[in-house]
Point group: C2
Chain length 371, copies 2
């Protein structure tokens, strides 16, 4: 697959926004970014530097020509001629409303708008979009965006199914693994799981059962290695042995009733807890700067995906299969095997369903709501 | 480090028990196993076959001479001359009591007894041991035991600190990463985190938010890749950016108050839920047999650890550093670089603290309880 985005816009250039910018630019896509932070240029530059470094390891033969990055003075200017816009502003509904309304006002009618929100329902956001709310999707990535393939796609009540289809194609075209969430809920799937684990972890630290380093070690020398390649259910299916999933469920289902978690409550989030965790984190990682840790993390992620790309009889497994296809695509792009003409053709083809979607009457949306 | 175990015993030969047997045998250690299951020999043989296959990939130069496996007719016979005994019987307190009492009765006084329980407190188990309860520790591994390095060590009220020290040495000597849990709680640390995620996952499936395959994909294309190399806290420290952990906590702490989890309750565990999950699991993984999935899992684990072993300027990172040392140790053992004499010497040295520990008066235990 080659990219189907001719021109992208990013609104918000924090860790997540800059991660999107890096992924897009490294795919040779021009990006216009709007971020009112006077430090935005420096911050995006630093994420870009880290991303470039990681991609050089993925592509020893050379990177594709980078897209051009422009800093826009307004949202209107940034989104004016974009066919894909990713919003990554802080997680406040009022701010999302303000920003999405402005994007909607100025973006081309057939542009897809993805929101990086990690928790707010698209239905609650798209109410602010007066022109084309039907082309808003949540496209929730995980940090670092330029390396981790996953993106959770969530549609709201007004989102057209066609917009979700095009969003899937767009994200897949830049090396990602889109998973469409079936029903809207706050925090979707990934962050629900992370929040559950985080809450339990806070209890474990607060109660002095272990330190943050010990907890991290239990993950990274243990089940983290499993979850990098199979998820929870597939791992348990295997653990069930010859009898499989049903046997596992029968055996471990009752454990849910055991006094095995602090499920009832959230620990009080006070200065004492923050101090405890921050100082333990210093003990664990204070010897590295954040920049150094980012490099270590990125090197490890590339190495793991590379390793997985050789599994499954050379076809690649899980993130490794995506990684294999992605690095091939980027390598082809670097050696310009794909003529620019076909890029435009693919784009036109992909854009069609959205145009059609946008043209559809509100009746359809109403029907979908009932269905 | 070379092994400090001359003769080991395993009581229980299910997936976990057989995994211990495999790890021990592949380290050249003789093991006597007791398992009343008439199928035990076949089941252990199959796990052993899988483990041997995985180790061959880790050690293309050849494996160490395997230890000798004997099937004992009684617990007494299995543990008679063992200096390390690992108990892996089903998770019922009455059964643990019966089995541990028998092990305690017949094992040499200075043998260390590890229990594979994934949830029962050692204090609740060691009450059944009339002779030397002070040498019982929980040594909780994760499946597959022959590959995953982590082992959670937990002492009970009667456990001597010296026994924990020796247990650490023993587990480390067979390539594992021991983490000592600071306070006894049910399910310790790893399974608390797993239970929290599992409970949330059951809700997500039950409510139709996603399928088991989609949930697994969100893990293995996303945060699973992070947790294979850094844990939750180190990942978040990096995500906090230049301001680090304190910034992250300040930013995301309030999320705990959002309606982001189903923390209040456990979904009703009925046939409908089991059917839903089992049939979705069939859709996801039915194309592979459990044996095939085990091979895929093991290949992936070896590849990931291998990849991590080359990181951190060649010193290895996390599980990769352990993997590097472990494969070197096994390689040395295979080429018999370590004379057998030194093995006995190391063993004698390591065993000393336990002998001393056992000799100590009950006063010490009483003092420890107060402290």
């Amino acid at each position: 697959m080659t990219t189907i985005i001719a021109k992208a816009a990013a609104v918000g250039g924090g860790v997540i926004g800059a991660g999107w910018v890096a992924r897009l630019l490294l795919n040779g896509i021009d990006v216009a970014i709007f971020d009112p932070d006077p430090e935005a240029r420096r911050k995006v530059g630093e994420v870009m530097k880290g991303a470039r470094r990681a991609y050089k390891q993925m592509l020893p033969g050379g990177l594709p020509k980078e897209g051009r990055l422009t800093f826009a003075r307004t949202i209107a200017e940034a989104v004016a001629d974009a066919d894909f816009i990713q919003e990554s502003v802080p997680e406040r509904l009022d701010l999302k409303h303000k920003v999405l309304a402005e994007i909607d006002m100025h973006a081309p009618a057939n542009a897809i708008i993805g929101s990086s929100t990690s928790g707010i329902k698209p239905t609650d956001m798209q109410v602010a979009m007066k022109k084309h709310p039907e082309r808003l999707v949540v496209g929730h990535p995980f940090n670092p965006v330029y390396l981790l393939p996953i993106v959770e796609i969530v549609g709201g009540e007004q989102t057209f199914p066609e917009a979700i289809e095009v969003a899937k194609e767009i994200y897949a075209s830049i090396g990602m693994k889109p998973v469409v969430i079936r029903k809207e809920i706050e925090a979707f799937v990934g962050d629900r799981l992370l929040e559950a684990a985080w809450r339990e972890a806070l209890w474990l630290i607060k109660d002095g059962i272990c330190s943050v380093e010990e907890l991290d070690d239990i993950m990274r020398y243990g089940f983290g290695l499993r979850w990098a390649q199979m998820g929870m259910f597939q791992v348990y299916r295997v653990a069930g042995g010859e009898a499989g999933m049903r046997h596992f469920m029968a055996q471990f289902g009752p454990c849910l009733k055991w006094p095995w978690t602090k499920l009832m409550d959230v620990p009080e989030f006070n200065d004492e807890l923050v101090d405890l965790i921050a100082s333990q984190s210093d003990d664990q990682s204070g010897k590295w700067s954040i920049r150094e840790l980012e490099k270590i993390r990125d090197d490890n992620l590339v190495a793991i995906m590379e390793a997985l790309s050789k599994q499954n009889k050379g076809k690649g497994w899980g993130a490794g299969a995506i990684h294999k296809a992605y690095t091939k695509q980027l390598g082809d792009l670097a050696s310009k095997k794909k003529p620019a003409a076909s890029k435009a053709a693919v784009k036109a083809k992909a854009a069609k369903p959205v145009k059609k979607a946008v043209a559809k009457t509100k009746k359809k949306v109403a029907a979908k709501k009932k269905g």
